[in-house]
Amino acid sequence: MQGKIAIEEHFVTAGLEHTLFPTIGWDPDEWADVQRRLGEAGSLRLEEMDRHGVEIAVLSLAAPCIQLIADPYEAVVQARASNDALAGVVESHPDRFAGFAALPMQDPKAAANELARSVEELGFRGALVNGYSNLGDGIAYYDEPQFLPVWERLAELGVPLYLHPRNPWESQMRIYEDRGELLGPAWAFAVETATHALRLITSGLFDRFPDLTVILGHLGEMLPFAVDRLQQRLSHVPAFSLQRSAPAYLRENFYVTTSGNFHTQSLIGALLQVGADRIMFAVDYPFESHADAAAWFDTVAISEPDRLKIGRTNAQRLLGLSPTETTGDMRARAAAPGSMR
C-alpha cells in the first residue's frame, strides 16, 4: 500500500540523548544504529519511508526524554527547544513530516501554553507524552487534578494526546527484579501505559471532557483485549460509577495505532472491539523497521477499505493532514457511502 501515514515515529535531539530509556541487554551494534536513526530526519529516514510506502511520518521525541526531567523549569526549556527543533525538521519536508509536541507536564500551565504554541505557531497536530512525569523526587500521573489545564487546552484546541510508554517507577520494580528482560517495550511499557490510560478513564476525565482524544500505540497496550473484563468487574462495585462504560470510552475517546505490534490476531481483535475507524498505522521507527511494519500491514487479513482507513484516511482526518491524493484516496472517495462512482 502506498500513501501510508505513520504516526509514532521517533527522533531525539543531541541534548536529550542522555534521557533515552535504558537499553540494558540490547545488542550494542543494533542500539548504535537506532541511535543514529533517532538523530536523523533526512535522506536515510525518507528513503526508508519511500521504500515501504509511507508518505507521511508524524514525528515525536523518543521515550522518556522530557518526562524524565525532574526540574520543571528545565523541562519547559528543553520541551521548547525540542519542539523548535522538530518544527525545523517538519519545515524541511512539510509534505513528508508532521509533528507531535513534547510537553513539560512538570509545569502543567506551561505545558498547556507550549501545546498552544506548538499547535498554533508551529503547526503541530497534537502532543505526545512518555508516560508519567518526574517531579522532584516523585512522579505524577495525568489524572491528577493539577493537569486539568493541559486537558482543557487539548479539548479547546481539538487535538489528540498520544500517551506513549515509559518504564515503571522505582516503587513498581520488585516484579522485574532479576528479570530485566521484561522491562521496556518487551512488556513493562504496555502494563505501565495501559494502567495509566485506565487511570484517565476511571478518574472521570472523559466525562469532564467528552471530546478529548487520546492515542495509544502498540494496538492499545492490550486494552482492547482487556476492557470488557474490566467493565464486567467494575459493574460489581456499586460505589464506582461513570457516565459510560470502559469499552465505550475506549471506542469514543481513544485511537490505537499499530506501532511495534505487527500482530494479526491483535489487529483483528482491535477491529472487532473499537472498529476500523479507531485504528491507525504506525511503525515506531527506529525501534521497529518500516520493512517489518509494511510487510505485515500491506497484506494483513483486513478488507482493502479498512486497510486504506487504517493506513491513511483515519490519520488524515484526525490530524488534519493533506497528503497528496493517491489512487487509493480517489478510490476511497468513490467507494465511500455518498458516492456510487
Partner: protein
Amino acid sequence: MRMIALEEHFLPQDVATAAGIDPASVWGLFDALGDTGDKRLEVMDKAGIDVQILSVPNAGIQKLGAERATALSRELNDRMAAVIAAHPGRFRAFASLPMCAPDAAADELARAVQELGFVGVLVAGQTNGAFLDDPSMRPVLQAAERLDVPVYLHPAAPPQTVFDAYFSGLDPGVAARLSTSGWGWHVETGMHVLRMAATGTFERFPGLQVIVGHMGENLPFSLARADEQLGPVVNLSTSVAETLQQHLWITTCGYTTTPPLLCALTVFGADRMMFSVDYPFSDGNEATEFLTDAPLGPGDRARIAHLNAEALLKI
C-alpha cells in the same frame, strides 16, 4: 440504533395466483408476503427495524411472456408504491421488472425510479436461462447505471437441468432445500456475480453497483481463490477481486452466526455491508439481535445497520 432492511419481500396472493406462482416456492407465506402494512409494521417494530426496502421474488413472472410479465410488473410496482405512500418513512422499494423483455424492463425501471421514487431493482436469478452478463440483459444494466440505482441480485430456483444433475436421488424435501436455500441457489448467485465480473460486465457499465444478500453468497470465503484462478484467463483492466471490491455490496440476511460475518468483514469491509432480514422467510428479531450483539466497533455496526444503505440508496 436505526436499522434498514434491504431484502424484504412483497407478493400479493392475487397476483401470485394470476402469475401461476407455486405456493410451495414461497413456503405458503402469502399472508406475510401480501401484507401491505399492519402485519409487516408489527414485525418490524418488534424487531426494531425502521425501514424495509420492498421487493418481489419474481422469477416466476419471467416465464409468462413479455406482455404479461410487463403488465404484472407494473401492477406490482404500483402496489409497492401504495404501501410506501400509506406508511411514510417506513418503506421504500426495489422495482420488479419484466427481465424477459429487457427494453420494457428498462422503461419500467425508469418509471419506477423517476415517478414512483424507487431505489433500485431486484432481479431473481436467471431470466429464462440468461444471466446478467448476457448481452440481452444490457438494456436493464444500462438503465440502472444511467439512473444511478443498484441491482439487488437475489437467488432463484435452479434450472431443471441443474436440479436433475445435482439434486436427484434425494428425498424430495431435501432436494427442494438443498437446491435452494440450503446451499444450491447461494452458490449459484455467487457464481452469477463472478460471471459478471469475469465477462467484463462491470467494465462495460462502470457505474453499476450490485447487491447480494446472504453474507455475500459465499464470495467472501472464496474470493481470493476465484481471483487467483480466474486471473490468467480473464481480460480485465483490473482483477476479479478488485472488481468485486468496487462494485459489490453484501447484505447479512439469513446468516446469523459470527464466522461468516467476520469473513465478510475482513474481505469486503463494513463499508460494503448492509443489514437485511429476508422477510418473511427469516426472523426479524434474530437478525436484529445478531447485528446488535455482533463483535463490531460502533462505527462499523452503524454502517451496516443503516448508514451504508442510506448513502447507497440515497434515502
